[in-house]
């Protein structure tokens, strides 16, 4: 193998590695959206803004108390759970009963909530880009791969690997929770058929509180994990809401394994796209995939979503 080919291969492998690691984080963001979508049949357009809230929580925990961003997952997760429950209980649930001409009223409501959250952050913390100076931010593990007489040197970013690992653990716990516990079964029953679930004695209203709380908590955890490798600023939410929606569509709405797969696909596509197509169009690549999926696989890549 010539040196040039080896260089190309190294670049490709490196791009795939970063893409998959990024995809782990995306999966976590998509899981929350997909869960909410599955149970309540609405798109939560404040999803990215909830993540932004968690990122600020993490940022201030570090700045004021010196708490490591990975430990503040333990704070951001329950805090965002409570915030999600409150939003669902006091804002979204009442609107379910209001009659209106516009069919997507609850979705519009989440737009308003998102606008309030991002601009409150702007008022409170200004538009500055902030970051957390952790010692391991740019640490990486190197792996030398011998192949056909050439050595390929691949690097694995430590914070991204930790994030990927925690995302996997959270994803797996969610899967077990939904599959093995009573509450999880109730959530799945409500997602399948709300009325039938209510007839079986499930308090579906309370289930929607828990679901929205859980969805917010998951994206909150993703926010904490993102802090060591990214910036925190008030407007960060919008693009991530879109990413979450793309992941949800990719995986099929309400499909939990699909959301994980969708996250990895999006991470890979963005990573490959920014290297081989153009850095400026990185975010457009997700949308192109999204439109292709809409045309050819409207039920998601696993073909089991509820389109």
């Amino acid at each position: 193998m010539s040196g040039q080919v080896a260089g190309q291969l190294e670049l490709l492998l490196q791009t795939i590695i970063s893409g998959v690691l990024l995809g782990g984080l995306y999966s976590l963001i998509g899981l929350g959206m997909s869960l909410i979508m599955g149970v309540m049949k609405i798109i939560n357009l404040a999803h990215g803004e909830l993540m932004m809230v968690a990122m600020y929580v993490t940022f201030w925990c570090f700045t004021l108390a010196g708490l490591d961003p990975y430990l503040s997952v333990l704070i951001a997760f329950p805090l965002l759970f409570l915030l999600g429950v409150a939003v669902q209980k006091f804002l979204i649930a009442p609107v379910m009963e209001v009659e209106s001409i516009l069919p997507e009223n609850q979705v519009l409501l989440t737009v308003g909530i998102g606008l309030v959250l991002s601009n409150l952050a702007l008022l409170a913390f200004s538009a500055d880009y902030r970051s957390v100076p952790v010692s391991y931010a740019s640490k990486a593990i190197y792996w030398d791969l011998s192949l056909g007489g050439q050595t390929l040197s691949l690097s694995f970013s430590v914070p991204m690997m930790v994030a990927f690992g925690i995302a996997l653990v959270l994803g797996a716990s969610l899967f077990l929770f939904l599959g093995r516990t009573d509450l999880g079964r109730m959530i799945r029953a409500t997602a399948q058929d709300k009325r039938a679930a209510a007839l079986m004695g499930i308090n579906t209203k309370r289930i929607t509180y828990v679901t929205f709380g859980l969805g917010s908590a998951l994206v909150g955890a993703a926010g904490s994990l993102l802090v060591p490798v990214y910036y925190v600023f008030p407007q960060i939410g919008g693009p991530f809401t879109l990413k979450a929606f793309i992941i949800t569509v990719l995986g099929g709405m309400g499909n939990i394994p699909g959301a994980v797969l969708g996250g990895v696909v999006l991470g890979l596509a963005e990573s490959l796209g920014s290297v081989y197509v153009s850095l400026g169009y990185k975010d457009a690549i997700g949308f192109v995939i999204f439109v292709l999926v809409l045309i050819f696989l409207p039920k998601g890549i696993l073909g089991k979503g509820s389109a």
């Binding site: 516009l102 959250l117 008022l123």
Partner: protein, 318 residues
Amino acid sequence: MTKTTLLWALPAVAILLIPALTQNPYLLHMLILVLMWVVLGQSWNLLGGYTGQVSFGHAAFFGIGAYTTGILVKLGLSPAAAWSGLLVGGLAAMVVASVIGWICFRLRGPYFALSVLALSEVLRLVALNWNRLTNGAEGILFIPAFTSKAAYYYIVLAIAVACFLAIRRVMGSRLGYYFLAIREDQDCAESLGIDTTRYKLYSLLVSSFFTGVAGSFYMNYMGFIDPGIVFSIENISIMMILVVMLGGAGTMWGPAVGAVIYILMSEVFRVFVKRGHLVFFGVLIIVIIIWFPNGVVGTIGEWRARRKAQATPAPEGA
């Protein structure tokens, strides 16, 4: 002259005479913005309020109109000739709309709403990265054709009236009934033989055309655009929805009422709250959806209907 003609003629004459009565550029600027937002609100209302197809990314069509005009200027057309952009920009928005509509309207649910949102983001990225055509982040700048605000006032007034009449015409025709049928119950409409995909697309085409025209007007009037301004989700797409919800979705006068309130409020917020003034609009959206889901016009309509029902006693034995 009957009382009702007088009721219509007086405000109409007053609106026509405003630039003759005042030369205050600030006041005229506000009125121009109100009229532009009337066009935007009407366009969104046709699709969202009447046809029930909520779009979260109408900035896409606004931006296409604005950039079509901007690119025409960049290619060497004189600013005066840039007015042709009003038509070309509207048509360009329609072409893009027909593609996205053709893809998304076959699916139900939030797909369309969010696809348009995605579309507007993609277009923003294109405008940002295609430097040779759009000047990228620098934006496009040119000297507007007229120095007097009165000229712009009459032009945007003409656009707003044309838009209003066109949409009223559409809603009075068979097309309008199809739109309402689709909004109320898509299955039912389909079972009555309405090709729902096609009629949703028609609604989108009219809506995107006028949004594009408004975008082109914006370029001609302001003389400057950049990707962040015209493809803004927060300041264009969401505010279009807010204007319609404020006034009343699915009503003829709702968007006009909404535009007046919106421009007034955004001026007040802009002056008294320096940054983060969108917080108030966010709160406003939440308040409207929870307590006044039918907006000003819709709520007044409900209130009058209730009073009427109280005034006429129920017939005996009913």
